[in-house]
């Protein structure tokens, strides 16, 4: 493999791994805090047990997320030295602020996990809330850095060098707010549905019980609200991409030709050499409507750029379809669940409801990974959009594949172990005495 491909694969692998743990680190603390708050309100031991179970999950996943995040911060220099050399000063601000947010998260997680009988109840609950807030802030800051790579601002480019750098302007680039909101909501969606699905599966296995029912209520409320909000945030992000990265929008929609009143394509397979997207369900004027909220606006196609500068249109388009498809299914499911709940029917007595929940529950994480593929692959061949190519940023160090295989092997073992541990801890049936003791 050449260095560019190896470095991209390695960065992709470590990010794909880290994003799962980071997303859980954002959302599970919120869920455990809500559970503890319900316990303090109702005195129902099922909530306390749930808070403790989810706290254990957070402890395992946060630790792995913390170390895999450290790997990423080093990889920026190890794999992309030219990028860091030029851009480090511009995007250092969100990373530095993220450092402090991460500090806060780690400190209060320590207090939450090991301080049950060392701090007063209200302070314990507050610690959980601080973990949830600082976890979300960490995600926001890191996404700000990624947003800058998509819509670089806050500097002047003079003879290939960044001068007159304005770190705060760079941090708040046009993509910053919509991308960060989309990321945080994606984290809540992914972990909310995954947790609801796990408890749905347990409920089917061991019959109706309070523990799994309250777990589903909390997890599904968080995941459901997030996925419905996601449609609004996705719309804002889509229009931002249309304005600042029209070629990215064209490739994620499979739009090869510049067109007035462009259709929205659902599904389909792009054929870059033939410059067309086949087999798609077309909704007339749909893309123009989405991109600018006008029926007949002009949408730029990939024909505005030489083909050598296109991203992998097929991969980007398919990833985008997967993300939107998963999000739509989860939204429909949420609306049905909300309607059933509004009709005052206990959701969990419906076997079909539970089975559907279990079936759909991994889609949040699938959408998260697919969405991340969309934003990263869709930006190629640029590492800093229209300013620096990924091939210019990569390291020239020899034997990069050694590193690739070493880290891949380690991450593989870690992944398996984490899944095994979680299956032992979170899934385990609550023992009667445990419920009584708590």
């Amino acid at each position: 493999m050449n260095n560019l491909l190896t470095a991209r694969s390695l960065m992709g692998l470590t990010l794909a791994f880290h994003i799962i743990f980071a997303a859980v680190g954002v959302s599970l603390p919120l869920m455990m805090t809500v559970a503890e708050w319900r316990w303090l309100k109702t005195n129902d031991p099922a909530y306390l047990l749930l808070a403790k179970r989810w706290a254990k999950g957070t402890a395992i996943l946060f630790a792995v997320g913390a170390v895999s995040g450290t790997v990423l911060s080093f990889e920026l220099g190890l794999l992309w030295p030219r990028f860091m050399e030029h851009a480090g000063a511009v995007i250092g601000m969100p990373f530095s602020l993220e450092g402090f947010a991460f500090f806060t998260e780690a400190i209060f997680l320590g207090i939450y996990l090991y301080g049950w009988d060392r701090v007063p109840g209200s302070m314990h609950l507050a610690s959980g809330a601080i973990v949830a807030i600082s976890g979300a802030s960490s995600a926001v800051f890191v996404t700000f850095a990624n947003a800058w790579m998509n819509t670089p601002t806050g500097f002047d480019l003079v003879q290939g060098r960044f001068v007159n750098i304005r770190p705060f302007a760079a941090m708040l680039s046009p993509a910053a707010a919509p991308e960060a909101l989309h990321m945080v909501l994606a984290a809540y969606t992914a972990a909310g549905f995954a947790a609801a699905g796990i408890h749905g599966w347990l409920l089917l296995r061991r019959g109706r019980n309070r523990f799994d029912e309250v777990a589903i209520a909390i997890a599904l409320s968080i995941g459901g609200v997030a996925v419905l909000a996601q449609s609004v945030s996705g719309d804002a992000l889509g229009r931002m991409v249309g304005t600042y990265q029209p070629m990215k929008l064209a490739s994620l929609e499979g739009q090869f030709h510049t067109e007035k009143g462009a259709p929205l394509r659902i599904g389909g397979l792009p054929y870059p050499d033939k410059r067309e997207t086949k087999y798609a369900l077309k909704i007339p004027h749909g893309l123009s409507l989405l991109a600018s909220h006008r029926m007949n606006s002009i949408v730029e196609g990939l024909d505005q750029e030489p083909q050598a500068d296109w991203p992998n249109v097929r991969m980007v388009h398919i990833s985008f379809q997967i993300m939107v498809g998963c999000g739509s299914l989860l939204s429909v499911f949420t609306l049905v669940a909300a309607w059933l709940a509004w009709k005052r029917r206990p959701l969990t007595i419906h076997k079909t409801f539970l089975k559907t929940l279990v079936l759909l529950s991994p889609l949040g994480f699938l959408a998260l990974e697919a969405g991340w593929m969309v934003t990263e692959l869709g930006r190629q061949p640029w590492v800093i959009y229209k300013i620096m190519r990924t091939s210019e940023a990569v390291t020239s160090t020899a034997q990069l594949d050694v590193t690739f295989f070493a880290l891949t092997g380690v991450y593989f073992v870690l992944g398996i172990t984490v899944i095994w541990l979680l299956s032992r801890h979170v899934i385990q049936s609550p023992k009667q005495q445990e419920l009584e003791a708590s």
């Binding site: 170390v67 250092g92 530095s96 991460f102 870690l414 541990l421």
Partner: protein, 340 residues
């Protein structure tokens, strides 16, 4: 005041705190490897209980050093990445394995054999990581061909495998083990356990003194810049002199079983050694060519970063105080004693 100097001072503070806190966590992991005798399980329990609530927080100091470096001194950061890739990979593998193996052991719910195996992974990676981190410090200090920019870099190149960096690695490991053993003597519940850690503190402290002398001697031929800096920089001179006094008090208090005083003195000793090194290394980040001046980001960026550090510190330090008060306060360690 130059922003470059202020920011490098912030990085040095983070590095000192990382050594005193994160370093002690590594040291405790190394001591886990040495647990033996009739109180083996109790020793392990003291170690696990001591680091469990704080190790992730302590680890963030390293992340802070890294992000401040790549934001404030990007040219030096990318040069270190480009010139020492294989070594940094070893550090990273150590960091991944230490952290994950520690939680895997703590939350393990299977057979005892596998749990022991994760414990072994934890303690071995805890020992290797500070050793490699020390080698990084040695390699960026000696300015020899280990970090020569003109040579083509390779992940498999081990030019850092020289006596000077290796002796700095040994120095780091022994200092961290010494710190950890001194801290653990305070946190241990009874006299016998305290003595177990007291012995380990005295032995590792002794090794660290030998490693320090060895490093100083090797610096004469391998790292003349550092040797010269130690002699000429007032800060370095004062810090190293202070470290000698602190070491004397630490040993004296360890022998007299006055563990709280020993803990303060040992921490002062290690902190002063790091400060002494930094004084001798200044203004270099990566010898022989990259300094805090020629690799710095523009001044306005540095000032903004300093402002962010100030604002972050306002949140960070009260939170840290709370964390250590809850888990390491006088009342807590004594009541922990009674309950076990």
């Amino acid at each position: 005041m130059h922003a470059e100097i202020l920011l490098s001072f912030a990085m040095l503070s983070a590095l000192v705190l990382y050594s005193l806190l994160g370093g002690a966590d590594y040291g405790a992991g190394f001591l886990d490897l040495t647990c033996s005798g009739p109180r083996k399980e109790q020793q392990r329990a003291v170690i696990a209980r001591a680091i469990q609530p704080v190790w992730e927080t302590n680890h963030v100091w390293l992340i802070l050093v890294v992000v401040l470096m790549f934001s404030g001194f990007p040219a030096a950061f990318s040069a270190i990445g480009a010139r020492l890739p294989g070594l940094l990979l070893l550090v990273l593998l150590g960091i991944i394995l230490r952290g994950s193996a520690f939680v895997f052991r703590a939350y393990f719910a299977g057979d005892a054999q596998t749990q022991l195996y994760w414990g072994r992974v934890f303690s071995i990676s805890s020992s290797l990581t500070p050793f490699f981190l020390g080698i990084v410090i040695g390699a960026i200090s000696n300015g020899s061909e280990a970090v020569n920019a003109s040579r083509p870099a390779s992940w498999l190149r081990v030019a850092w495998l020289q006596f000077f960096p290796l002796s700095v690695g040994l120095l780091s490991l022994s200092l961290f083990a010494y710190l950890a053993a001194t801290y653990l003597a305070v946190e241990a519940s009874d006299r016998e356990l305290q003595d177990d850690f007291r012995w380990r503190a005295l032995i590792s402290g002794g090794v660290s003194v030998l490693a320090a002398i060895l490093t100083y001697l090797l610096a004469g031929s391998s790292a003349p810049g550092i040797r010269e800096g130690l002699a000429s920089s007032t800060l370095s001179g004062a810090a190293e002199l202070g470290a000698v006094f602190a070491a004397y008090f630490a040993f004296r208090n360890l022998i007299l079983r006055r563990y709280r005083q020993a803990r303060v003195a040992a921490a002062a000793q290690v902190g002063l050694i790091v400060i002494g090194w930094a004084g001798a290394q200044f203004p270099y980040l990566l010898r022989p060519d990259l300094t805090v001046f020629n690799s710095a980001a523009p001044a306005n960026v540095l000032w903004d970063l300093l402002m962010a550090c100030g604002a972050g510190g306002l949140v960070l330090f009260p939170s840290l105080y709370l964390l250590f008060r809850v888990f390491k306060g006088r009342r807590e360690t004594t009541s922990g004693m009674e309950s076990t």
